[in-house]
């Protein structure tokens, strides 16, 4: 599994917040721009707010880098103008590698007991 693709994927790390959230929104399946923004907002309880410009800037870059790709509209969508985006295989691996990286960081932090100390409120 830790084939060259993971090596290649790691060259994209670390991801910016916007990119991570974007990729995460696509993890369950293709979505359109508005849907991505909605997902990010609800998932984070409004803590993460992404501007539309930032979103499409990220979309363009990720597509140029081959992490996401255009996807066909699902049959139930009534608006033919909407464009859907989906994770590519590389995109999925990048998302996983980033999640692993973050997880490892958090585990290091836990071992140092940083969660138990400090901020009282």
């Amino acid at each position: 599994m830790h084939a060259p693709i993971a090596e290649h994927a790691r060259t994209f790390l670390p991801l910016t917040d916007a990119v991570f959230h974007l990729l995460l929104s696509l993890a369950d399946g293709p979505a359109h721009g508005y849907g991505i923004l909605l997902e990010v907002e609800t998932r984070s309880d409004g803590a993460v707010r992404m501007g539309t410009g930032t979103l499409y800037s990220a979309v363009k870059r990720l597509r140029d880098q081959g992490l996401i790709a255009d996807a066909p509209s699902p049959v139930h969508d009534d608006d033919p103008r909407r464009r859907y985006y989906a994770l590519t295989r590389l995109g999925r691996v990048v998302l996983r590698e980033e999640a692993l990286r973050l997880d490892a960081l958090v585990r290091f932090a836990r071992r140092k007991s940083v969660f138990d100390t400090g901020d009282p409120g």
Partner: protein
């Protein structure tokens, strides 16, 4: 295409996105953003800000990837640019003469502008080189009726009165002089010595890098005398040895302890000071000699106006406590140092230089635009073909713009290289008293400004031709119809260029003519003395070793004898100042039996103390009577020699010999009672720096044996050696130095240089400016001539068909020449008329800068000369194409279309 419901700011911003981004995402981005705003999930402001960031980010990304592509060997977008640049270079190369002329004219314009800006940057915008230097005020005296508007000396008495007031937070008095230092193991040396109140260094906010500064205690009665060394002097004389602090040296007759060394970047004004020592001026309330300068910082809240008003009252008190005539006409002036330095004359000269170089750049730009316009026309067909083949209009525009930017970049590089040379050349002419911070320098702001000017000129002057080429008559050109007579509007533009070029050239050249003439007049004609083979130096004996007039006179006689005893030296003499000195000493006078002047200042003359050999050493002819001889001693009848100009002023109808002069400088001694008997009339020579040879100032000479002279300028003339050859400069200098040391081993000869070098140095500034302006004027003339030639040649080509028809109808060759020449001359004439008022303004500017110098000058001769030159140049530039037109063969001209 875009969502019509989208908020205006978003729509506007979206338009700024890069094209490929827009193509793909603009519609969707706007519709999503609109929906979010409508559903209250986001605000227009937030979305706009985010979009703005996106715009910037996307463009930056594009540039970055272009650069990356380029470094990788050319991707698509950058590929277009490299292609454009390559094509531009090829096109420029295709018309090498036109391109070279355009590039060179632009380069010259840029070089002139950049180097003058460097100079102006140093002079006008630089500050007093100390911390909070803009707070520094100078306290000096002025006497407007005597033409001293600032910078006159202050007396210690006035200083004491001012120092007692609450006007100043800090105040110091200082003066500079020559002093001799001696110490074991090192040669005695003459130095520039600054004596100042102990607070002086604190006012500069600088502290020594080694050792300590002065304190109040250093200036009290009986304190150990101390000195602080300036960095360059410490490096040179002591090899930068920090252990000199604490050592003793003798200076100006006192044994002093070196207590500190100033840091390298610390500069004084004047910048050639080498040693600083403290003095107590506050106690000298009875000293009314106006020979000091004040410097300080005002108490906060005190304006210079208020300070001046209050000091006027204090000064009135000082004047009433002594002989009031001592201060008659003099009042104290407090002003910000940055306003007084550099002086107004230098400031105006810089303004003239700036105006001149901007004019130069204007002509250069007009010329470049003109040339490019001409070429753009010739290339219309090419442009048309490319358009027809589907090249977008902005693509062609971009190509043409690239060409002018490439041209401007080439010119800019050449121009900046040239300006380095010019700046280096300016630097040589800077006087030693100026701090380095005022030296011209191609600093970052100057370079950036120059680059902006360069690129601006390139774009601006490339744009007009480019627009012309793209706009309008493209189809006409391609179809070939009426190509010859098209473009009336364009011709008007080019005509306007030629007219303005001639207008500016006229003004510039007239200005250059006046300046060059003015500076030439200074040194033109007979200077009245012969500087060849004369070596000069200064000797400044200390008060302690030579306390009185007899001891000074004895030393001077011994020194002259010792000098003349050397085989290398034919003659030696001394004088109070060398000819053409920066600050000439003056005296008022009365003449017995003559009506006294209404004001004492009406009878004012240069005051020169000289020894017996003066006239022979400098080869100044005696016109009447005699010069001083050994018979004129301290005990004999006080005598004076007057200059030709002096004699002309007062003794036009009578014999000056035997008349009696009373000089205000003779305040003590026997001369004050009996006056001085005039014994001779000597030829005129310029004593002041910018004095005209042709208009010498009246001068009175007094014998060194009959007055007191401490710091003396010596002049020695080389003797022919045994082989008949004159002693060389180095030989002469060594002989002089040794002779002086043989009289007093502690007495150095300083500022050793030939008289020729001295005169050259004094005239370097004006000469430099004159040459610079004349150079730019010459370039302007050349450019204007090229401009008109280009336009005329071009119009002849364009009118080939018309001329052909006329000739076919029987027009004479002469008629054709006349027709073409007339149209050219009318442009020149209009240009000249338009240039006259500008030339007049230029003259007034120069007049205000040079004042008296231009008093003798009329603007008319340079103006007429320049007009004649311009017209003859214009004639050639017009007639050549006109003659070509007359050789047009009708059949050929008609068949050509």
């Amino acid at each position: 295409m875009t969502d019509p419901r989208a908020p205006g700011p978003l729509r506007l911003l979206a338009r700024l996105l890069p094209r490929d981004f827009r193509r793909e995402f603009e519609a969707e981005l706007l519709s999503v953003a609109t929906r979010r705003v409508e559903q209250g999930r986001s605000g227009v402001v937030n979305e706009s800000l985010d979009l703005l960031r996106t715009v910037v980010r996307e463009h930056a990304r594009r540039v970055a990837s272009n650069v990356a592509d380029y470094t990788r060997g050319g991707g698509e977008p950058m590929g277009t640019l490299t292609q454009d640049v390559r094509y531009a270079l090829r096109m420029l190369w295709k018309t090498p003469v036109v391109s070279a002329i355009a590039a060179i004219s632009l380069a010259l314009g840029i070089a002139a502008t950049a180097s003058t800006m460097a100079m102006a940057d140093g002079f006008i915008f630089s500050q007093v080189p100390w911390d909070d230097g803009d707070e520094i005020v100078s306290v000096t005296m002025r006497n407007p009726t005597r033409g001293v508007t600032t910078g006159g000396g202050l007396s210690a008495a006035t200083f004491a009165a001012i120092d007692d007031s609450d006007l100043f937070a800090e105040l110091a008095l200082y003066t500079t002089s020559l002093a001799n230092i001696s110490e074991e193991g090192l040669d005695p040396e003459q130095v520039q010595h600054l004596t100042a109140s102990p607070e002086f260094l604190d006012i500069t906010r600088a502290s020594p890098m080694v050792g300590r500064s002065f304190t109040e205690r250093d200036a009290v009665e009986g304190a150990v005398p101390t000195v602080v060394l300036m960095h360059p002097f410490w490096e040179r004389r002591y090899g930068a040895d920090p252990s000199v602090v604490g050592r003793s040296m003798r200076m100006a007759g006192l044994t002093r302890t070196i207590v500190g060394v100033m840091p390298e970047d610390f500069e004084l004004i004047p910048a050639n000071v080498q040693v600083i020592s403290p003095a107590n001026f506050a106690d000298q309330i009875d000293d009314h000699r106006r020979r000091f300068l004040g410097v300080g910082r005002l108490e906060s809240g005190i304006t210079t106006e208020r300070a001046n008003a209050e000091i006027a009252t204090l000064q009135a008190g000082v004047a009433s406590s002594t002989d009031p005539t001592l201060y008659e006409g003099w009042d104290v002036q407090v002003e910000y140092f940055s306003d007084t330095f550099p002086g107004p004359t230098d400031r105006r000269l810089i303004q003239i230089l700036l105006a001149v170089s901007l004019f130069g750049l204007m002509i250069a730009c007009a010329n470049v635009a003109n040339l490019l316009l001409g070429r753009a026309e010739q290339r219309q067909r090419e442009v048309s073909v490319r358009t027809a083949l589907g090249a977008g209009r902005d693509r062609i525009l971009r190509q043409l713009l690239t060409e002018s930017v490439v041209l401007a970049a080439l010119a800019g590089a050449m121009g900046l290289a040239l300006s380095r040379v010019l700046v280096g050349w300016f630097e040589v002419g800077m006087p030693a008293e100026l701090p380095r911070s005022l030296y011209p320098e191609l600093s970052a702001p100057v370079l950036i400004l120059s680059c902006v000017v360069t690129l601006g000129a390139g774009v601006l002057f490339g744009l007009a031709p480019a627009l012309h080429a793209v706009k309008g008559e493209l189809r006409d050109t391609l179809t070939g119809a009426r190509g010859g007579t098209a473009g009336r509007g364009r011709r008007r533009v080019r005509n306007a260029f030629v007219i303005s070029e001639f207008a500016v050239a006229l003004a510039l050249l007239t200005g250059a003519g006046i300046l060059v003439k003015a500076f030439q007049t200074i040194s033109s004609g007979d200077s009245g003395f012969d500087a060849a083979g004369v070596m000069t130096f200064f000797v400044s004996p200390s008060n302690e070793r030579y306390p009185d007039t007899p001891s000074l006179q004895a030393l001077q006689r011994d020194a002259l004898d010792a000098l003349e005893a050397r085989p290398e030296i034919a003659r030696a003499s001394l004088m109070s100042q060398l000819p053409r000195s920066r600050a000439a000493q003056v005296t008022f006078y009365d003449i017995d039996g003559h009506e006294p002047p209404a004001r004492p200042s009406d009878f004012e003359a240069n005051w020169i103390v000289a020894s017996t050999g003066f006239a022979e050493t400098l080869d100044v002819p005696m016109e009447q009577g005699r010069f001083f001889t050994d018979a004129d001693g301290p005990e004999t009848l006080p005598v004076a020699v007057i200059s030709r100009a002096f004699a002309d002023r007062h003794f036009a109808d009578e014999d000056p010999i035997g008349q009696t002069l009373r000089l205000t400088r003779d305040q003590t001694g026997p001369a004050a009672d009996g006056g001085r008997r005039i014994v001779g009339v000597i030829g005129d020579l310029p004593q002041q720096r910018l004095e005209l040879n042709a208009r010498p100032t009246p001068t009175v000479y007094v014998s060194a044996d009959q007055t007191t002279l401490r710091t003396a300028a010596f002049a020695v003339e080389a003797a022919s050696g045994p082989g008949g050859a004159m002693a060389g400069d180095a030989e002469l200098a060594r002989a002089a130095r040794e002779a002086i040391l043989s009289v007093d081993p502690g007495l150095p000869a300083g500022s050793m240089k030939t008289l020729e070098t001295h005169v050259e140095e004094q005239l370097a500034g004006p000469t430099m400016i004159g040459v610079f302006v004349a150079g730019i004027g010459g370039i302007a003339l050349l450019l204007a001539a090229l401009g008109i030639y280009g336009v005329m040649a071009h119009s002849v080509v364009q009118r080939t068909r018309e001329i052909g028809i006329r000739m076919a109808m029987g027009a004479e060759r002469g008629t054709v020449v006349g027709m073409v020449a007339r149209s050219g001359f009318s442009l020149v004439l209009v240009g000249m008329l338009a240039g006259m008022p500008i030339a007049w303004l230029m003259f007034r500017l120069i007049q205000s800068a040079l004042g008296e110098l231009t008093g003798v000058l009329s603007p008319l001769p340079p103006f007429l000369f320049v007009t004649a030159v311009l017209i003859s140049v214009a004639s050639i530039a017009t007639l050549l194409p006109a003659l070509r037109a007359s050789r047009i063969r009708p059949a050929r001209a008609l068949g050509e279309e």
